[in-house]
């Protein structure tokens, strides 16, 4: 089975690097970027199972904006928000925009792993549902070809 693909977005270089290293050490395919803009570039290039997104990144695109774009590009990627206390309200807003959950910084790796596991599970079941639906769809309309790209854009 392939490793889970994880994108970590945080403006704190030290934090980002270390977290990416630790996730990779735990058999994940993790990469890190320092800004929302860079994250969008990555998302456009590659599919991710989960995206860990710091909500508060001074300068440049803010977390919520990045989230909105990411969800538009990759609706199936589960986004876990990292937040300080002051931005909890923003996180709740983020949940409404389709984020999977939020975690308070500083976060213990165990907690983050747990959350990731939940996210993967959800994503899996979500994808399976979609597949089942597609199969049913094909059974009903055998001539129709499912266009993933088109479907995503809806």
């Amino acid at each position: 089975m392939d490793s889970f693909r994880v994108l970590v977005v945080d403006d704190e270089q030290d934090f980002l690097e270390t977290l990416v290293n630790r996730l990779n050490k735990r058999d994940m395919d993790a990469i890190g970027v320092l800004s929302g803009e860079r994250a969008l570039e990555e998302v456009k290039k590659k599919l991710f199972d989960a995206i860990i997104l710091d909500i508060k990144m001074p300068g440049g695109m803010d977390g919520i904006e990045a989230l909105r774009e990411i969800k538009r590009i990759q609706p199936l990627a589960e986004v876990i928000l990292l937040t300080g206390h002051a931005s909890v309200e923003t996180s709740i807003e983020g949940m409404k925009l389709g984020a999977f959950d939020y975690l308070l910084k500083p976060v213990k790796l165990e907690d983050l792993m747990m959350k990731l596991a939940e996210a993967f599970e959800k994503k899996d079941s979500h994808e399976q549902k979609i597949r089942k639906a597609r199969i049913k769809d094909l059974m009903r309309f055998p001539g129709r070809v499912f266009d993933q790209e088109k479907e995503d854009k809806k």
Partner: protein, 555 residues
């Protein structure tokens, strides 16, 4: 210091009030008394003067009458006639019948020889040449003597009339009955202390006074103090009593008729009135003093209470301000700490991850590294908790409103803590009002407050104790929850600080962050309630939580 301000204020108010109320009372009382006294005395003096003058006139008239009849007899009868004692006796009878009060009657020739005499004493043949009255009578023609003892050795006075008959000069002399004369004078005596008597110019009693001496003795009173006409004087008498004297001179003689009176007797009515007045004034003064002291005390006590309340309120405001400022600062610091904390945590985690790799397994101090990393991690966790707690109440700044059952919340909280209480043999007793309304509030926040307070109570009691949790509706808009423990209480010097952030009494390291009460306090303030406490060292502590009873809107 503080109480002396109130004491001096009280003194000032009392003294000013007393002065202001006493002054008119005393002035009025004094004026009324003075006026009364003056009018009364004037009246008494007037009355005494009148009586003295009237009495003097009566005595004058008495003497004039006696003198006149004696003169008439001397003028109409001759020496030869009167030498005959038969005739003299007849005359004596006539004058006693017409005028009366004569004791005897005698005829004295110009050599002083008593040639004829009618009366009870054996005076015939005595020679009066050397007697002072004889010379006076011979020169003046008419003479009324002062009282003297004379040959008969009894106090008496005489009226002598001179007659010139051709070459013959002789004197008709009569003695006035001192008893009758005295009784006429004494008829002016009044009451129990009144006196009436006659003094001659030298101040010798001419009649027997009622008090203070005998006839012919010298009176204490000096006649010079009475002017020519009738006057009144106040003098101290022999017994040390102050008396009123009214004197009136008799015209024919240099005698002074004196009426004396004790003003106390005369002025009894006035004194009774004065006593009533004094009683009323004294009563009034006592009433005013009592009322003034009472009302002033009441007012000053109220003032002191109000001041105390205000000071308390000020202290609370200062405390509240301090907490808010500290809170803001603490939150700022916590935020700043958060990011480096996250990095440290990840780095430590990374180190731990790397240590697990094979290459390090042979390292000499591997165990040391691992345990150090664990320790760092542990302490990082503490820091993280502190930051979380500090920021805990910042989260959800606006408490959201839901239906809260206070009692149910309390039961839930107690259930969570019951285990640790049971381990330490602490009983948690509940006394919850069954009819508390469901209120609109933030249950999670309330639970956090209850949790903090009850777990604090458990920590305070430590072992074998009792914690009581009570809930009551205090009024239509407030619910009170009291948490009472029988632990060691809070030392007085620490009581001011217990709501300060990072202030903890829990000595064991890492046991308390010192944020529980601070956060609880802030939560309750935001909710519109409050937390207070009262504690006595050694006797436990009670926390009072007041929760605004906002009734949820009907959905």
């Amino acid at each position: 210091m503080k109480s002396s301000i109130y004491a001096s204020l009280q003194r000032k108010i009392i003294s000013i009030t007393l002065v202001v109320s006493f002054a008119p009372l005393l002035i009025l009382g004094g004026t009324i008394y003075y006026q009364f006294d003056r009018v009364y005395k004037d009246k008494i003096e007037e009355q005494m003067l009148y009586r003295a003058r009237a009495q003097a006139e009566a005595v004058d008239l008495f003497l004039k009458e006696r003198t006149a009849i004696l003169s008439a007899m001397a003028d109409t009868l001759s020496f030869q006639d009167l030498k005959q004692e038969e005739n003299l006796s007849k005359v004596f009878q006539v004058i006693n019948l017409r005028a009366g009060a004569f004791v005897d009657l005698g005829v004295i020739d110009n050599s002083g020889e008593h040639v004829a005499y009618v009366g009870p004493y054996n005076l015939k043949g005595l020679n009066y040449d050397q007697q002072p009255w004889f010379a006076e009578a011979m020169s003046k023609g008419l003479y009324i003597s002062d009282v003297y003892m004379g040959f008969r050795r009894l106090p008496h006075f005489v009226i002598a009339v001179r007659r010139q008959e051709n070459q013959q000069i002789w004197i008709l002399r009569a003695t006035v009955d001192p008893e009758i004369f005295g009784s006429i004078v004494r008829s002016a005596q009044l009451g129990k202390t009144g006196d009436a008597y006659i003094l001659n110019k030298e101040g010798v009693y001419q009649t027997q006074p009622r008090f203070d001496g005998d006839i012919l003795s010298e009176a204490i009173l000096s006649t010079t103090m009475f002017g020519r006409s009738a006057t009144v004087n106040k003098e101290i008498n022999g017994q040390g009593r102050r008396l009123f004297y009214a004197g009136s001179w008799l015209k024919n003689n240099d005698w002074l008729l004196i009426i004396s009176q004790d003003p106390e007797e005369e002025m009894g009515g006035l004194f009774a009135t004065r006593n009533v007045e004094i009683a009323i004034i004294v009563g009034g003064i006592v009433a005013i003093v009592l009322m003034t002291v009472f009302t002033t005390r009441l007012a000053v006590t109220r003032l002191r209470e109000a001041d105390m309340r205000m000071n308390e309120l000020n202290a609370q405001l200062v405390q509240s301000d301090k907490l808010t400022a500290l809170g803001k600062m603490a939150v700022g610091v916590a935020h700043e700490i958060n990011n480096p904390l996250a990095v440290i945590q990840q780095k430590i985690g990374w180190m731990e991850d790397l240590l697990a790799e094979e290459a390090f397994e042979k390292s000499q101090h591997l165990e040391e590294y691992i345990s150090s990393i664990r320790k760092i991690d542990e302490h990082l966790e503490r820091v993280r908790k502190i930051v979380h707690n500090m920021l805990g109440f910042v989260r959800r700044m606006e408490p959201h409103l839901e239906d809260v059952d206070i009692n149910a919340t309390l039961y839930q909280t107690i259930a969570l803590l019951e285990n640790s209480a049971r381990i330490n043999n602490i009983e948690i007793r509940t006394d919850l009002a069954p009819d508390l309304p469901i209120i609109a509030g933030d249950q999670a926040q309330l639970q956090q407050v209850f949790m903090n307070l009850i777990s604090n109570a458990i920590d305070a009691v430590q072992k074998d104790g009792l914690i009581q949790v009570k809930s009551r509706q205090t009024d239509s808009s407030h619910i009170a929850v009291n948490i009472i423990d029988n632990g060691p209480g809070i030392p007085e010097k620490e009581q001011r600080k217990i709501f300060d952030p990072f202030f903890s009494t829990k000595s064991a390291e890492g046991k308390g962050t010192g944020l529980g009460l601070w956060v609880s306090h802030n939560i309750m303030e935001k909710m519109g309630g409050n937390i207070t406490f009262s504690s006595q060292e050694g006797k436990g502590c009670t926390f009072f939580v007041t929760i605004p009873a906002i009734i949820p809107e009907k959905k």
